[in-house]
């Protein structure tokens, strides 16, 4: 690339003469200061120039046909920097254009750059502070005579906090003579700069191999691999310091990074991501590796290896699933005790559906769903005397209610996803209004059971009331309620199934949810369809009215839990507001009960008053402010962050991460039992386990992303990371037990003994 060099300022000639005068004064050949035309400064800021550039050669005279070196020495003002050929995440590559009649200039040699980060660590760039000599090999023509004219135009961006572009034009003459004279002053500077320029691995007696974990790169997806560096002819394995790797810019490849694998010198983990529009040609992996330490001195290698062929990602069109592909890169071991994430373990759709069905079945036993099941069983005893057809209809209605609402949930999830939102299982419980709504429904339902009001009948006889309140509509409603209450209970196996479903296509989502619904409905349907079972239930009688009221209290108990969830979401104020709203709902229900035996205007006004009261009360009370996360609730724990994990691992501690939420009863159960267990605490203390809590009670994109990385869409999730295998965390079962947890902790702290070969 050549540039017109007609940019000398009018004063340039004068300066040149002045420089020539100095050169003559210094006695000609030998240590001569460069002529003034070979020096320029730029990037004027507050009256000071932030960069000064000098055109240098390593000879004072050149013989025609000989080689020499030419370069530009940049001196930056303290704190300011210019950029490497890959500037990194911002900035602009430095550029030098040559115009050298009578000689040719080769490729620019870039010394290994420094890694520069903004103080918050968010932006990483590569460049040079202090001073740097960017040089190139040059060759004088055989026909050269007189002197060679060397001209360089440097285009650099000089940044501290602010950035200033600078265009510097540099010019000097190099005398041509019968012999080439080395410039004793400047040649060492060229040697020193060249020593910092990365060389091919063979030249430093290393061989390099790259093994990618995937056979091909998929557009838009992350990839991982291992770079292995081996010394030949007795070269010791390399050690590396901080910031030892700088990637070159590879078209279509982003976030290229190498990390050293602990305890295995010469082994590096490669991570990167293929852009959605990566060129189809096989990209290469290029970058610079700095070996050695500050104490031993550095030398740099230039890596240039074929990466892998590119295939077009199937999920490129439309909204790509956010989670599944990352599970692969996370390197989750297939040996995880329970189901590993769907894609990583090659989980088939069939198996996922079985999990969904079994998960739904188990949901019946969860404390959030059990009251509804009890209610259902109670209702069933009332209808069991009826003919089979009617009982079957109830079973169908209940199943329909469950499946209908699960389908509604599936559609809501799909709609949100299409609208560009990431959602997880139980996500509705992160929204205060939803929690308040469910609590209100539960209070209304319990008041109904207490007999404060009846719905759907104006009959007065007790038997009629009970009958009427067990219409088919109620069975549907109970099905809906079962689903609404089931969502915060991510039962064992559901974590995997729902996680898989939420990252798959719409058909899979719907199928998974339907199967889960069938599982949830099965126990009651069995009761209906197996005659022997039905006959074992107690006979209907007056006890039923009392039992019904008792179940009302069970629902109030569930409400207490929801109010507590609300406390976690919105603080004491939010709890009080919720309770106020519930009181208004109760008053509305009572008002409705008063007028429901009447008819005409009076009834209309009563209903209007009840509805108006609830609406006004809701509008007044349901305003929630999010509160700061409360302090950790298990002693000796700290909030999860990637930094905290890294810090603990660096200190050699195993890390236990508890992904939890206030509204997740399975999580709470584990926390109150296993995680508070004395033996477990003792094991944690003995092995110095760092206990981190990732609280998903409120929305947290970081936690959602982390869950997705492991193919999960909800909590609980328990990760145990061993310092000897930091990139292979163990995913523990959703239902923890003391023994498995203690065993896992022992494994994780077992350092080298248990470390899997990389």
């Amino acid at each position: 690339m050549t540039r017109p060099r007609a940019r000398r300022t009018s004063g340039g000639g004068l300066f040149f003469l002045a420089g020539l005068g100095l050169w003559l004064a210094a006695g000609g050949a030998g240590a001569a200061p460069p002529p003034a035309s070979a020096v320029a400064s730029g990037a004027l800021d507050e009256g000071k120039s932030r960069v000064e550039a000098t055109l240098l050669t390593d000879v004072t005279q050149v013989k025609p046909g000989d080689s020499f070196r030419v370069g530009v020495l940049f001196k930056m003002h303290p704190g300011w920097h210019i950029y490497w050929k890959n500037p990194g995440e911002s900035g602009l590559a430095s550029e030098i254009s040559w115009d050298t009649p009578g000689s040719t200039v080769g490729e620019l040699q870039w010394p290994m750059p420094s890694t520069l980060r903004t103080s918050d660590g968010f932006i990483t760039t590569y460049g040079y502070e202090g001073e740097v000599l960017l040089s190139a090999q040059a060759h004088a023509s055989e026909k050269a005579e007189g002197s060679l004219q060397l001209s360089a135009a440097a285009d650099v961006l000089v940044c501290e906090v602010n950035c200033l572009p600078a265009q510097l034009v540099l010019l000097r003459q190099l005398p041509v003579g019968p012999e080439t004279h080395r410039d004793a002053e400047h040649a060492p500077a060229f040697d020193a700069a060249l020593a910092r320029v990365p060389v091919a691995p063979e030249r430093a007696n290393y061989t390099v191999a790259l093994a990618l974990d995937q056979p091909s790169l998929t557009t838009g997806r992350a990839f991982t691999g291992t770079v292995t560096l081996a010394g030949t002819s007795g070269v010791p394995p390399p050690t590396v310091d901080k910031d030892f790797f700088v990637p070159e810019r590879v078209p279509g490849i982003k976030h290229l990074a190498l990390t050293a694998v602990d305890g295995q010198p010469g082994t590096f983990k490669l991570e990167g991501k293929a852009s959605p529009d990566v060129p189809a040609s096989e990209p290469r992996f290029t970058g610079v590796l700095r070996l050695g330490t500050a104490a031993s001195g550095y030398h740099a290698l230039r890596l240039d290896l074929p990466l892998a062929p590119v295939v077009k990602g199937s999920a490129e069109k439309g909204v790509a699933p956010a989670a599944a592909p990352k599970a692969v890169s996370a390197g989750v071991p297939g040996a995880a005790p329970v189901a590993a994430p769907a894609e990583a373990s090659g989980l088939s759709l069939g198996l996922v559906l079985v999990f969904a069905f079994l998960g739904g079945l188990l949901l019946n036993l969860m404390p959030c769903v059990f009251p509804v099941l009890a209610l259902k069983a109670y209702g069933f005893t009332r209808t069991v005397g009826d003919e089979r057809g009617r009982v079957g209809a109830h079973a169908l209605a209940y199943t329909g209610g469950i499946i209908g609402s699960l389908l509604a949930l599936a559609l809501a999830v799909l709609a949100l996803r299409a609208a560009g939102h990431g959602v997880g299982w139980g996500f509705q419980f992160q929204e205060p209004l939803f929690v308040a709504g469910v609590a209100a429904v539960l209070v209304a339902f319990s008041l109904n059971l207490f007999g404060v009001f009846n719905v759907g009948t104006d009959g007065t006889a007790l038997v009629e009331k009970v009958d009427a309140s067990h219409g088919l509509g109620r069975s549907v409603g109970e099905g809906v309620l079962a689903v609404v209450l089931a969502t915060p209970c991510s039962a064992p196996m559901l974590g995997t199934a729902v996680g898989f479903a939420l990252t798959s296509g719409p058909a899979t989502v719907i199928l998974t949810f339907v199967l889960m619904g069938l599982g949830l409905a099965l126990p009651f349907c069995l009761l209906v369809l197996v005659p022997g079972l039905a006959r074992r239930l107690p006979r209907p009688g007056a006890w039923m009215e009392r039992f019904k009221q008792l179940l009302g209290f069970a629902l109030l108990g569930t409400t207490v839990w929801l109010v507590w969830v609300m406390g976690g979401l919105t603080g004491v104020d939010g709890m009080a507001r919720t309770l106020a709203f519930l009181a208004v709902v109760a008053l509305g229900a009572w008002l409705y009960g008063l007028v429901q035996g009447t008819s005409g205007t009076r009834k209309l006004m009563g209903v209007a008053a009840a509805v108006g009261l609830v609406a006004l009360g809701g509008a007044w009370s349901l305003r929630f402010d999010e509160v700061a996360p409360q302090a950790a609730r298990v002693t000796g724990v700290q909030a999860w962050s990637e930094e905290a994990v890294a810090t603990a691992l660096a200190a050699g501690q195993p890390v236990f991460i508890d992904f939890t939420a206030d509204w997740c009863l399975t999580c709470k159960f584990n926390e109150r039992t296993v995680l508070q267990d004395e033996d477990v605490r003792a094991a944690f203390a003995q092995h110095q386990v760092a206990f981190l809590v990732a609280d998903w009670t409120r929305r947290d994109a970081r936690i959602s992303a982390k869950l997705a990385e492991f193919g999960r869409a909800g909590v609980p999730m328990y990760l145990l990371v061993s310092p000897s295998a930091p990139d292979k965390p163990e995913v523990l079962n959703e239902l923890l037990t003391e023994d498995t947890l203690i065993d896992a902790v022992r494994r994780a702290s077992g350092r080298v003994a248990d470390a899997r070969p990389y």
């Binding site: 950035c163 838009g220 909204v319 509604a408 809501a412 949100l416 929204e431 759907g456 809906v480 994109a701």
Partner: protein
């Protein structure tokens, strides 16, 4: 109970909450945000669903931004779009920026799109905006379709054949085609985040 109960249960279940994705990535949903512009008016990304949204990370103090505004790159690009289909939002995540500075600059350079104020840098970091200018094109469904530089002329010395990536991306989206270049390396100053 029946119908009332069903209705209440379903209606509390459906108005579910909007979620932010982790960072802006091409092919993935754009992170949601609500920011005030230099005049104090609120802009939510969700409000612009159905339109193509161009986000421009900007900082009038950056020479690269200055160059483009002096050459009218941004103003002309925006002016070439059908404003009923394309929304242009400049976002300033500079820690030291104030609405007054944005307003003065807007007046000086004579452009009409809002300059959203993000002095905390929260939205900028959610998007992973690293440079000024750093451009994102979001389609009518809220999915990021382009991320990177405004054009392929980092040094501003091309005289012809400059490719304006944002214009190319928006034109492709408007005609229902694939965005030919979905990512490019942004160039310019680093975003001066609060730290």
């Amino acid at each position: 109970m029946k119908s009332l109960f069903t209705a209440v249960a379903l209606s509390v279940m459906l108005p579910v909450v909007a979620f932010a994705a982790d960072t802006a990535q091409v092919g993935k949903p754009a992170p949601a945000f609500t920011l005030k512009d230099e005049a104090g008016k609120e802009h939510s990304l969700s409000k612009y669903k159905g339109k193509i949204v161009v986000l421009e990370w900007t900082n009038p103090g950056c020479p690269f931004v200055q160059r483009h505004y002096t050459a009218n790159t941004m103003q002309k690009t925006f002016g070439g779009f059908d404003s009923s289909k394309v929304v242009w939002l400049a976002v300033d995540s500079t820690a030291s920026n104030t609405p007054d500075k944005s307003a003065a600059w807007k007046k000086e350079k004579g452009f009409s799109f809002p300059v959203l104020q993000d002095p905390s840098g929260k939205v900028g970091k959610e998007y992973g905006a690293k440079t000024t200018p750093h451009m994102y094109v979001i389609d009518d469904k809220g999915v990021v379709r382009y991320a990177g530089a405004i054009d392929d002329d980092a040094r501003g010395n091309k005289t012809a054949d400059t490719t304006n990536y944002v214009k190319t991306a928006v034109d492709a989206l408007l005609s229902g085609k694939d965005v030919p270049t979905a990512t490019s390396e942004p160039y310019g100053c680093s975003v001066k985040y609060k730290s």
